[in-house]
């Protein structure tokens, strides 16, 4: 919107122009992508309805592998949801300057990933029409859900995380949305009036007074403090879905920290994967540059090392415990029918991220993009390997079996990616994708300004 853009008199004006200017008026490629995503979603919706109609037999799950790709996807997407809050809350509390340009997109990613993850526990229910039995509400059956079941803990953990993430994201947005509202005031036309109304309502009457800024800062800090423990709790609770079961290969005290590290690992990878096309499409190369990939690469490397350590520890504990069934489960995980996924998992999650030890590679956006895609694949397979290989090879050898996903499961999996990307693309065009407030703050404080790659750091 050329008419919106003020002449770039100062770096501050440039920031507003660049970020607000990236909104609206997408070109045809955007529309083609949205239509393609909706088409995939439609196909996945058809597969889902088919599954509801004929029964869970439409999926490939069987006896003994009663959880398959759906739960894999659930854990995968919850994991993706982790980096957002880590980057925005924990790095905020740690005063890490490099978070300012990626936190908004990472938080949006968190919210959309939770929205995707939340679908899977429902999709995988045998009798989806009774999904509300899982919710604690007063009812004529005089029944509460079973508070001993980790699935109920999940219900609370995920809904809490979603609520806090949404509020945190929204409070960060308020000054930026108000800036868009003010831009709209200067424009004529019915569309501008409508946008002014919508953004005005979202801005909650923000005027930018000293008093408002003071309260805003305080609120944001508290929200960050509230959100921080959730980064640790949510995936711990998800890991307990497995660790609380007695299944060999699941029943392990290492699961909570192991899953949290894995979640942050996969979340950072997804931020890298998404931000590369995103900065290019919105013309924000100055805002997210080598400096940011360098730092994200370090975080990726750290979490990869933790995950690799956890893999080794799991095997050590299985061997050291002297529990023949536990050891057999782990032996079979690496050498049995699911050796292929296991090898993919190990190479993608442990070996490839080691490349991040080199500064040159961390500072190469292309290399980071490729590495992050491998990590995404590897982390999906990690969940698959943990869930499927443990169930396929349990206590009773007579009941051992194998699992292969069906077309319904694969369609719905593909659909989950379409669903997630659809929301993300919508977000990129209706809300400021980078925090205007925080970028301006860092310019004012002289910490960092757009285009600065911090080559010397």
């Amino acid at each position: 919107m050329a008419s919106v853009a003020p002449p770039a008199r100062s770096p501050f004006a440039k920031v507003s122009r660049d970020i607000i200017g990236a909104l609206w008026e997408p070109d045809w490629r955007y529309h083609v992508m949205m239509v393609a995503l909706l088409a995939i979603l439609g196909w996945a919706g058809f597969a889902w309805i088919y599954q509801i109609k004929v029964g869970m037999g439409a999926a490939g799950i069987n006896h003994p592998v009663m959880w398959g790709v759906y739960i894999t996807n659930f854990v995968f997407w919850v994991g993706i949801a982790h980096s957002g809050t880590l980057i925005s809350a924990i790095l905020y509390l740690l005063r890490s300057g490099w978070r300012t340009t990626i936190n908004r997109a990472a938080e949006a990613m968190t919210i959309f990933a939770v929205m995707t993850a939340g679908l899977f526990p429902i999709i995988h229910l045998g009798r989806i029409w009774y999904f509300y039995f899982l919710a604690p509400y007063p009812n004529q059956r005089l029944l509460w859900p079973n508070f001993r079941s980790p699935l109920i803990w999940d219900f609370f953990a995920i809904s809490t995380y979603f609520t806090i993430s949404l509020l945190f994201w929204y409070s960060g947005l308020i000054p930026d949305v108000a800036a868009i509202r003010d831009k709209m005031k200067g424009l004529t036309g019915r569309a501008a009036r409508l946008k002014e109304k919508i953004y005005g309502a979202l801005a909650l009457g923000w005027q930018g007074s000293d008093r408002q800024w003071k309260n805003y800062r305080r609120a944001y800090l508290y929200m960050a403090a509230i959100a921080t423990p959730l980064v640790l709790s949510v995936h711990s609770v998800v890991s307990w879905d497995f660790a609380m079961a007695i299944t060999p290969g699941w029943h392990s005290t290492i699961f909570a920290p192991y899953f949290v590290a894995g979640a942050i690992f996969s979340g950072i990878a997804m931020v890298i994967t998404l931000s590369v096309p995103f900065r290019w499409a919105l013309g924000l190369e100055d805002y997210i540059n080598e400096y940011h990939y360098d730092n994200m690469g370090k975080l990726l490397l750290l979490t990869s090392l933790i995950v690799g350590y956890a893999y080794v520890t799991e095997y050590f504990m299985a061997w050291f415990s002297g529990d023949a069934m536990e050891w057999e489960s782990f032996r079979w995980r690496a050498l049995g029918a699911y050796a292929g996924p296991f090898v993919i998992m190990f190479i993608c999650n442990v070996l490839i991220p080691l490349l991040c030890f080199w500064r040159k590679i961390r500072r190469s956006i292309k290399a980071m993009f490729v590495i992050s895609i491998f990590v995404n694949i590897g982390m999906w397979y990690e969940r698959f390997v943990i869930i499927v290989s443990a169930l396929a090879h349990e206590y009773e050898p007579g009941a051992w079996g194998l699992y292969k996903p069906s077309w319904v499961e694969l369609s719905i999996t593909l659909g989950s990616f379409a669903w997630f990307l659809f929301w993300f693309m919508l977000f990129a065009k209706v809300l400021p994708a980078i925090s205007i407030t925080e970028v301006k703050e860092s310019i004012a404080e002289g910490v960092w300004s757009p285009g600065d790659k911090k080559e010397d750091s």
Partner: protein
């Protein structure tokens, strides 16, 4: 008459993952000498600690006169599978056919596991590398193990259900409430015996099968978990009759379909709280063991080890 290759390839459907119990003491064999010693020892133990032997009877409401239990004598079991058929007929279990069975979707609540047990003579010295995978060996032994819901006293399936669809009833049974089940299948993942079955589809009972449906047993909807109930409908009927006559259910009054059908009388059912019941007597045997008992699931089913020739215990 001659044989000619048709060129067709047919996948053979096996209902069992492994015929080797991997030294997990799932299917147990005992030699005759050791069995005799064990019986003697058990008898002495009984005299010293009569209260200690039937642990499973504890896992019911203290006020309940009953803790239903079962005992299966592997020595008597020939693996004929009459019990499996009887269970299908009694409990309205859908017969799903070859294709679904090959996908791991057999619905049998009771299955017969066949384990090739290692040679008794080798058992004493060999661990791990003498699995009974040598059918040519002279000392090769086959054990048939009827496996169904163990109605555990400390059941792993119960705490994980988010909607209390599986719960422990006052008589010690793990009761599955079909109307409450939403089908998370967590219970099955947490069942070490893999005794639970899931309704993958809405199954049909085409004529004339519909005429033999048991009116005392619900036909389950798709998306619901189910399993062996110890023929709870027969238990309920016996309790009703007994209540009309102002008495307790007596031993032998309840017989599940599997026990009723077994030609070798390898299965007995009864009240573990009655020390004189047949099931209690069997459970006190020197040959008795619980499958995967080390998991502390406290099963209500006691298995009696198969007696085989040889001199050592495996």
């Amino acid at each position: 008459m001659g044989l000619a290759a048709t060129g067709r390839r047919v996948e053979l459907v096996s209902l069992q993952g492994s015929h080797d119990d991997h030294d997990r003491e799932i299917a147990e064999v005992i030699s005759l000498d050791v069995a005799a010693e064990a019986e003697e020892h058990a008898r002495e133990e009984m005299e010293l600690h009569p209260e200690a032997l039937v642990h499973a009877s504890e896992d019911a409401d203290p006020k309940s006169p009953y803790r239903w239990g079962m005992a299966v004598d592997l020595s008597s079991c020939t693996g004929c599978s009459a019990c499996v058929t009887a269970c299908y007929a009694e409990n309205n279990i859908p017969v799903v056919g070859e294709e679904f069975c090959s996908q791991g979707r057999e619905m049998a609540w009771l299955r017969i596991g066949t384990y090739y047990e290692h040679a008794i003579e080798e058992g004493a010295n060999g661990h791990g590398d003498t699995h009974g995978d040598d059918p040519g060996s002279d000392s090769f032994h086959v054990v048939h193990l009827p496996m169904m819901c163990q109605q555990c006293g400390n059941a792993p399936c119960e705490p994980v259900c988010p909607v209390y669809a599986t719960y422990h009833n006052p008589e010690g049974l793990n009761v599955q409430i079909y109307n409450r089940c939403v089908g998370t299948r967590y219970c099955s993942n947490n069942c070490p015996y893999k005794a639970r079955r899931f309704e993958w589809f809405d199954y049909e009972f085409p004529f004339p099968l519909n005429l033999q449906l048991n009116p005392d047993v619900t036909v389950r909807e798709k998306g619901v978990m189910e399993k062996c109930t110890f023929c709870v409908q027969r238990v309920a009927a016996a309790k009703n009759t007994a209540a009309y006559e102002y008495r307790a259910v007596v031993d032998g009054e309840v017989t599940p379909a599997c026990a009723q059908t077994c030609p070798a009388e390898a299965i007995v059912f009864g009240n573990l709280r009655d020390p004189n019941s047949r099931v209690s007597q069997w459970a006190k045997s020197g040959r008795s063991y619980h499958v995967l008992g080390e998991l502390n699931t406290r099963p209500a089913i006691t298995y009696l080890k198969e007696v085989a020739r040889g001199t050592e215990e495996t």
